[in-house]
């Protein structure tokens, strides 16, 4: 089981802030492909990966990061703090 968290417009497009998922995906990118096939709202949220960032267990990561042992995955747009 993996916790998926969504922030900002990713959260709004998917329609919820978090969910738990059972997945056999090997990498973040594989999981995204799996989600996109599930429902249109995921396809809309993940349409352009260049507009997205991913954090693996609360650390920024690349889309090819492996999922083995990962507990928490977060998707969000580029950050705009400060």
């Amino acid at each position: 089981m993996i916790d998926l968290l969504y922030f900002a417009w990713v959260r709004e497009r998917i329609g919820l802030p978090r969910e738990r998922l059972e997945t056999g995906a090997a990498t973040v990118a594989d999981l995204i492909e799996e989600l996109k096939l599930r429902e249109d709202r995921y396809a809309a949220a993940f349409a352009d990966l260049r507009a997205l960032r991913v954090a693996v267990d609360q650390e920024l990561a690349d889309f090819d990061a492996p999922l083995a042992g990962v507990r928490e995955l977060a998707f969000f747009p580029p950050m705009t703090g400060g």
């Binding site: 922030f7 747009p77 580029p78 950050m79 705009t80 703090g81």
Partner: protein, 150 residues
Amino acid sequence: MQIRVQADPFDYGAECAAFAARAAGPGSGAGAVVTFLGLVRDDGGRLSRMEIEHYPGMTEKALSAIATEAAGRWPLSEVLILHRFGPLAPGDAIMMVGTASRHRAAAFQAADFLMDYLKSRAPFWKKEFAADGAEWVAAKDEDETALGRW
């Protein structure tokens, strides 16, 4: 080193006084204190309010990592990062950083560095509400480019 993430407003004057007192205590050797305060711009009256979302847990980790990186690059006697989330009005204080060092170049550079990293590496997202609708603030390419300075 102090990292704070909060919904509540903060008292900028009181934070400056407390930071300087911590930073410049006996034996600190501090000669220079820099603070930066970020405010919600009113954007010529267009903006009615702002909402800041963040990623609890990761935010604190990211800010600590940024402050630790700064303290490794410059000899800082004290560092502060304070960032708000939740609803904000034009003119409200969003965040502040503080740096203290023996010499002013280090204090200025470290504060500038903290701001550059905080802008692109800390999980905060701003949503602006105006009469003509609401919009997530887009990250600027120049913010990412700015990291290359360090």
